[in-house]
């Protein structure tokens, strides 16, 4: 009997040790760093400088809001593209479901940065997309897509689309088809069955998908630096510059925590709106 009590703890120990070492410790260090003053030469002294946060927000509020906005746009785009995709694979994929899933994951075999850079060729002023449209006279000669906000959002949506498709697929695929049959038996048309049965059941997948796309897209910095132009900088780029180029660790850490806070607030309000307020306190 005693062993039985210990076993679950023993099993979970590696995970806890892992989290403690690689999540709690670094994040504690970052929190401490965000409240210091100084520079690399003189060192950073713990001074509980809350002003770092004020500085970070007052200087970079524009980039912070832009990141959340770009992240939200990319997430919506992912839902618009990813939901029908997941739906089709789950219900019409037949024996080829896993092939389709593999195809969705296929781009991940190529480096993230390379995939993003290849968008430059796609969106280039005289490239494969805009070039023909321009020569047909459908677009004006001066029209450009690369180095603009739409380019960044497209890049983000492209890079994170599988994170939306997979959770939605996972939920739809598990759905009991008899539920849809039951809906039809109750005189629901295809549309009604979708709205009243399939959509509500798939919402958890959408929720998971939103978490998995919105968080990384709004903190991404590769897309903005590869596909963005002026006035497209995202907060991830600022964090990168402050850490790696300016070595201004306190400001970089404060921005990180502000971003984290905003994301948490956003996600909790979203969870509440979806009626999933207990999502972060699941009982075992």
């Amino acid at each position: 009997m005693r062993n039985r009590k210990i076993t679950p703890y023993a099993l979970v120990l590696p995970a806890w040790a892992w989290l403690a070492l690689f999540f709690v410790v670094p994040i504690g260090g970052m929190l401490s760093l965000s409240l210091t003053t100084g520079n690399v030469i003189t060192g950073f002294q713990q001074s509980f400088a809350v002003g770092n946060y004020v500085d970070a927000v007052s200087t970079y509020w524009e980039q912070i809001l832009r990141s959340l906005f770009y992240g939200a746009c990319a997430t919506l785009l992912c839902i618009a593209i990813g939901y029908p995709m997941a739906y089709w694979i789950a219900f019409k994929g037949g024996p080829y479901k896993s092939t389709y899933l593999l195809l969705i994951l296929l781009p991940f075999f190529v480096s993230f940065v390379l995939r993003t850079i290849s968008w430059r060729f796609l969106l280039s002023d005289n490239g494969v997309v805009l070039g023909p449209l321009k020569s047909m006279g459908l677009l004006s000669e001066g029209f450009a897509l690369l180095n603009s906000a739409p380019a960044v959002i497209l890049g983000l949506a492209y890079n994170f689309l599988p994170f939306m498709v997979l959770p939605i697929y996972a939920v739809l695929e598990r759905m009991d088809p008899r539920m849809v049959e039951a809906a039809h038996d109750l005189y629901a048309g295809r549309f009604q069955a979708f709205v009243r049965v399939i959509l509500p059941v798939s919402l958890p997948g959408v929720f998971a998908g939103v978490l998995m796309t919105f968080i990384p897209t709004s903190s991404d910095y590769v897309n903005a630096s590869v596909l963005g132009g002026t006035h497209n900088t995202m907060i991830g780029n600022i964090i990168q510059t402050q850490y790696l180029i300016n070595n201004n660790y306190p400001i970089a850490s404060s921005i990180t925590f502000v971003l984290m806070g905003l994301l948490l607030i956003g996600i909790f309000s979203y969870a509440r709106a979806l009626g999933t307020e207990r999502v972060m306190e699941v009982h075992a």
Partner: protein
């Protein structure tokens, strides 16, 4: 619709995410919130007891003392940038043949700032960085390394080739007076490149980068120092003597250029492809990149040193103070100043060598291989002002402003505000 039960999202969400009915991270009898709280408290206690991050400035040992007890070890580790030596490592083989010293060559420097971030904590601790010789540009990171006392003071009696063959421009530089800590590896000009397919007039000045005719087709560099230099030069200020007021005026000019929609984007090193395919018509550019692009791809990009002047940057050889083989390292340093060796290096790198005599050697090589493909390439390079700038070019070239850590921060944030809008 109204009495539809709320979907039970919690468990389904977890299934979707983990495909397990129970999250393995939640212990029986312990809610996730409680465990999060416990973790948070531990983190806070741990974090706030740690007192910041040390800077650990040290006093560089006097040159004589440092070198007194150092001996040759027979091998050294060399950190350089990618594409800064041919894949055969020809010059290093020649070095090994001449001296018997083996070189472990690593293309480990991809970016000055992150490389600095990688070695700084080890140097602060007095630990070996894994390198005995390294190449970094004359930017903020080099200034910090010198200020922190992390570089070995060079013993110039061990650098006879340097003394004899280094060009005057590469001796006694502004960023390292008397070359106490560094000697140049290779240099380049930050000037203007344009694509004559799209630009139908001759470009001669920095002011052309502000021309509204090129709206949305101009590239600028994202690096704070590079972009600041162009703003300063446009205002007629020599970057090396600039003051805070000059920086603010330069920033104002650059902001105007950006907000008028003239700048397409701020680039790091990736301006070549957009310039070739017409996304950019004109851009700030590095001489060697343009030379290589034209030589290898047959493009006809133009590179100019603008009338207002341009900057000459230098990538430098240096020895970290925790080096295990400083004597071997300084021998290699000197070896690279042998004109034959410098010529071989330049043939591959296509940037400016600090050994002007290499131009003659290269012309001799070209004569010896007259008629062959290599002979032609050598001839073209020996005659190119991108690789061997003329006296007139040198007169228009300036050094970067040299800043201490405090001023660097002010300077960088002023110009990053422009590139990272």
């Amino acid at each position: 619709m109204s009495n539809r039960p709320r979907p039970n999202i919690n468990s389904a969400l977890l299934r979707g995410l983990t495909r397990a009915r129970r999250s393995p991270l939640v212990l029986p009898g312990m809610t996730r919130r409680r465990t999060l709280q416990a973790g948070g408290a531990a983190a806070a206690a741990l974090a706030l007891s740690a007192c910041g991050v040390g800077g650990q400035q040290r006093d560089p040992a006097a040159s004589g003392d440092y070198w007194a007890d150092k001996e040759r070890t027979g091998s050294l580790r060399f950190a350089n940038w990618p594409l800064y030596m041919d894949s055969e490592r020809t010059q290093l083989q020649q070095f090994t043949e001449a001296t018997g010293i083996e070189v472990d060559y690593k293309e480990d420097v991809q970016e000055a700032a992150s490389f600095f971030g990688q070695i700084q904590p080890r140097l602060a601790n007095g630990d070996d960085t894994g390198y005995d010789l390294m190449v970094l540009p004359n930017g903020f990171e080099l200034a910090k390394l010198i200020e922190l006392g992390y570089l070995v003071q060079l013993d110039h009696t061990k650098l006879p080739n340097y003394a004899e063959y280094a060009g005057e421009t590469y001796k006694n530089t502004a960023y390292d007076p008397g070359n106490q800590y560094t000697v140049p590896y290779t240099s380049g000009i930050t000037g203007i490149a344009y694509n004559p397919e799209y630009v139908d007039r001759e470009i001669t000045s920095i002011a052309d980068l502000w021309d509204p005719a090129f709206e949305g087709k101009v590239g600028m560099m994202g690096d704070a120092q590079e972009i600041a230099n162009f703003g300063l030069l446009l205002n007629g200020v020599n970057p090396a003597d600039s003051t805070l007021e000059d920086w603010e005026a330069a920033a104002e000019k650059l902001r105007e250029q950006r907000d008028a929609g003239i700048v397409r984007a701020y680039y790091d090193q990736d301006f070549i492809q957009p310039l070739t395919n017409g996304d950019l018509w004109m851009t700030m550019a590095w001489s060697g990149d343009i030379y290589q692009q034209n030589a290898e791809e047959g493009t006809n990009l133009k590179f100019i040193v603008p009338d207002e002047g341009a900057t000459l940057w230098t990538d430098n050889l240096m020895i970290p103070y925790t080096s295990q083989a400083p004597v071997d390292a300084i021998e290699l340093m000197d070896f690279l100043y042998d004109p034959e060796i410098a010529t071989g290096l330049t043939e591959y790198i296509a940037y400016i060598t600090p050994v002007p005599h290499a131009q003659e050697v290269m012309a001799e090589w070209a004569d010896a291989e007259d008629g062959s493909e290599r002979g032609e390439a050598l001839r073209e390079m020996a005659e190119s002002s991108l690789v061997f700038p003329t006296e007139g070019d040198y007169q228009k070239l300036h050094n970067y402003v040299n800043l201490e850590a405090d001023a660097q921060e002010e300077f960088a944030s002023l110009f990053h505000e422009i590139t990272q809008s």
